[in-house]
Symmetry: C2
Subunit: 92 residues, 2 copies
């Protein structure tokens, strides 16, 4: 899958990412991936819901994928930690 | 769908809900729904990932559903607020 149309959700307000999604769709994207991990996951779902319910009513959720990413500790001898991830594929 | 096998994720540590899921499966459940809303959504995904990667390796994610719930304000004249929801169906 092409990574060109990925929106990675971070700590900014949800509306910033909503605008990123709308801009991609208006630029002709047929499919975009909204990705988040850890505590940003709930914001990712907020973003998807705002996009498809308030702005682009023809956008559908094609797939929701959840998983785990292992982060290696930066400290020496530190145990790796697991973080949950989500990837939501939207199509128009 | 029967609501008998639902695990509603709240503010407790993830392990409490992991134990609830394992108990349901050990009690013979073939399918359980893990539900959360708002900021508990990321914890719901942590719970699902811990259950299926650490404890019950035969558990599969059947479906992930995301949505919006409208909450009516308790104050008079208060605007209703929207909260994102997730429902993850696990089967064994």
């Amino acid at each position: 899958m092409s990574e060109a149309n990925a929106v990675l959700i971070g700590r900014k307000p949800a509306m910033n990412y909503v605008l990123a999604c709308i801009t991609l769709f208006h630029g002709g994207a047929k499919e975009i991936n909204v990705k988040a991990r850890g505590r940003a996951i709930s914001r990712a779902i907020d973003v998807v819901e705002i996009v498809r319910r308030r702005f682009l009513l023809d956008v559908k959720i094609k797939n929701v994928d959840i998983g785990t990413q292992q982060l290696t500790s930066t400290e020496e001898g530190g145990a790796p930690t697991n973080v949950s991830t989500i990837e939501i594929t939207l199509t128009r």
